[in-house]
């Protein structure tokens, strides 16, 4: 652990991300106010002792909503990376192991997905399936599959050639067991690094979709949605537009730095794939 904390990126990223996670966990049991409770008398207030981040157009407490929004962002980050990882790793392993037309098909398919304008496709998917947080997560994870598939393939191909795999094969262990027991543990650190970076990207993407009204639906708090509402009241209450955006930048910076720190410590030679 000491090795990690000697890296500045990791330390700063760890602290920033930890604060987001703590805020999210606390919000599950306690928030300063009910995040959805409206109060017409307290509309569009600036920061005060009672409401440190002010209130929105319905008099809801912004701090409570930013805290609840953190849960939202963490769920989106976790789920999209989980879907992208599980499908991507399977495809990547299959691609590296079978080679030939399987490899060619999977890789051309991922080229094809990479070529598509991501924002537009995500908007289309959420429009077809209906705007909701789950559909936004699906739309984001589709683009994560080729990222993890390519990464897994590239690293797995190197490991597949190593002596200990040849030895395992000679011992008569089945190919999928080799992949699961010997190849996967060796590419775990690479996947962890990329997973952290994609986690940050997912927070940004969900915020964008929610800003357009295609992600998390009201009255649930989401940082992107809060910014959309803030824009209407910008001249009356500029604070509304500042704190949710700050929360997004804070969380993304935290997880980006964490990913960079993990890469510097675990795998200095790895090229960052974005």
């Amino acid at each position: 652990m000491k090795r990690f904390f000697r890296n500045k990126n990791f330390t700063v990223g760890f602290i920033l991300s930890l604060i987001v996670i703590i805020a999210a966990v606390i919000s599950l049991i306690w928030t300063p106010f009910d995040a959805n409770r409206m109060n017409a008398k307290l509309r569009l207030q600036g920061p005060s002792w009672q409401h440190p981040l002010g209130t929105d157009q319905y008099g809801r407490d912004t701090l409570s909503r930013v805290m609840v929004g953190a849960v939202n962002s963490i769920i989106v980050g976790l789920m999209t990376v989980a879907i992208g990882l599980s499908v991507g790793v399977l495809l990547g392993l299959a691609s590296a192991y079978y080679g030939k037309w399987v490899d060619e098909t999977i890789m051309r398919f991922s080229d094809f997905l990479f070529g598509f304008p991501a924002v537009l496709t995500a908007i289309l998917i959420t429009s077809i399936l209906g705007p909701s947080m789950i559909n936004a997560m699906l739309a984001i994870s589709i683009f994560y599959i080729p990222v993890f598939a390519r990464l897994t393939r590239a690293v797995a191909m190197l490991i597949w050639e190593r002596e200990f795999i040849v030895a395992a094969r000679a011992a008569g262990i089945s190919e999928w067991k080799i992949a699961w027991r010997h190849v996967l543990p060796n590419i775990l650190s690479t996947l962890l690094i990329q997973g952290t970076i994609q986690f940050a990207v997912a927070i940004l993407a969900e915020a964008g979709l929610s800003y357009l009204g295609l992600g998390t639906q009201p009255p649930h708090a989401s940082w992107g949605r809060m910014l959309n509402e803030a824009q209407t009241y910008m001249s009356l209450s500029p604070w509304m537009a500042i704190f949710p955006g700050l929360a997004i930048a804070w969380a993304v910076l935290g997880f980006n730095l964490l990913g960079d720190g993990l890469r510097d410590t675990l795998d200095p030679k790895m090229v960052r794939i974005r």
């Binding site: 304008p117 537009l120 077809i128 824009q231 910008m234 910076l253 730095l257």
Partner: protein
């Protein structure tokens, strides 16, 4: 070179074909019957059936695809259901906003990233380099639409220098139109500059450690000549590649920023059309945007092969 070009061109055509089928298939399952949307909820089944036949909606999947592609290749654009005008005219008008917006954004990105990237590389690990790298990390973490909102807050709401959104139109007010694009282009440009600055720095560092640079220095050339005359040209190749890719993505991906600034560009047009279930508009614009990305990627590949002839051999 010609063999390479032909090979790339064939791949481009196959990709474009695949893209068109995918776009068509995805929109084929989009809920909502265009005939019902045009005629409203009081339409009789007979009039609906007639209109469906007119629009070619009663044909099979492949039949409808062939109808659409045939019309496109013949240069006949469908009518928009909502705007009641040919889709290509809508695309042309909104491209007059999105095109200059994307170019301006890339200009901003280039104007920021080149000097800062070169500076950071020349002063590696010094205070200036650290400041530049911290700024790029902040840029990478900032959502561009939030940055756009902050710019509006400062320059429109507080200082009143710019309007908070909207677009007067090139023919009505040329200077006003350019002004309307400055803030959104800057918001897009700064975020992209974060990536480009990092890339310029790392590419420059790599080139500066090469033998020919050492030779140039050993010859007694001035540092300025070594950096700008010898190293920069080679360091720029990867930067230009990423810039090209970013430009392609910008043509298709300025949707959110166009919404922040209420710009009548391609992104906003397609976003509204999706909401209005204006299928002909959605289909043609999505195809146009996807094709723009594919074609720009193709041009970048070709440009790269011209800059670095070794690529043609791979």
């Amino acid at each position: 070179m010609i063999r390479y070009l032909i090979k790339k061109l064939i791949t481009l055509l196959i990709l474009l074909g695949l893209v068109s089928i995918t776009v068509f298939a995805v929109l084929f399952v989009l809920p909502g019957d265009p005939a019902q949307i045009i005629l409203g909820i009081n339409a009789t089944p007979e009039s609906l059936a007639t209109l469906r036949a007119e629009l070619g909606l009663d044909k099979s999947f492949m039949g409808q695809y062939a109808h659409w592609m045939g019309n496109l290749l013949l240069g006949q654009s469908q009518q928009s259901i909502h705007y009641k005008m040919p889709v290509y005219e809508l695309i042309r008008d909104s491209l007059a906003v999105t095109g200059p917006l994307a170019l301006l954004a890339m200009l901003f990105a280039l104007a920021i990233s080149l000097p800062f990237g070169i500076y950071a590389a020349r002063h590696q690990n010094q205070a200036g380099d650290v400041v530049v790298m911290v700024c790029t990390q902040l840029g990478l973490a900032t959502p561009e639409f939030w940055f756009g909102i902050l710019l509006t807050l400062l320059f429109s709401v507080q200082l009143g220098w710019f309007s908070a959104g909207g677009f007067p139109g090139w023919s009505t007010d040329c200077w006003g139109s350019l002004k309307a694009l400055l803030l959104p282009a800057f918001a897009l440009g700064v975020i992209r500059a974060s990536i480009l600055t990092r890339l310029t720095r790392s590419s420059m560092l790599e080139v500066l450690s090469e033998d020919y640079v050492r030779t140039a220095r050993a010859k007694g050339l001035k540092e300025r000549t070594v950096v700008y005359g010898h190293a920069l040209r080679n360091a720029l190749a990867p930067v230009l590649t990423i810039m090209g890719l970013q430009l392609g993505q910008l043509l298709a991906g300025a949707i959110i920023i166009e919404n922040v600034f209420f710009l009548p560009g391609l992104g906003r047009l397609v976003f509204n059309a999706i909401g209005q279930r204006d299928l002909p508009v959605v289909r043609d614009i999505v195809l146009f945007m996807a094709a723009a990305v594919v074609v720009v990627n193709f041009l970048v590949d070709i440009a790269y092969a011209v800059i670095d002839p070794r690529i043609q051999l791979e």
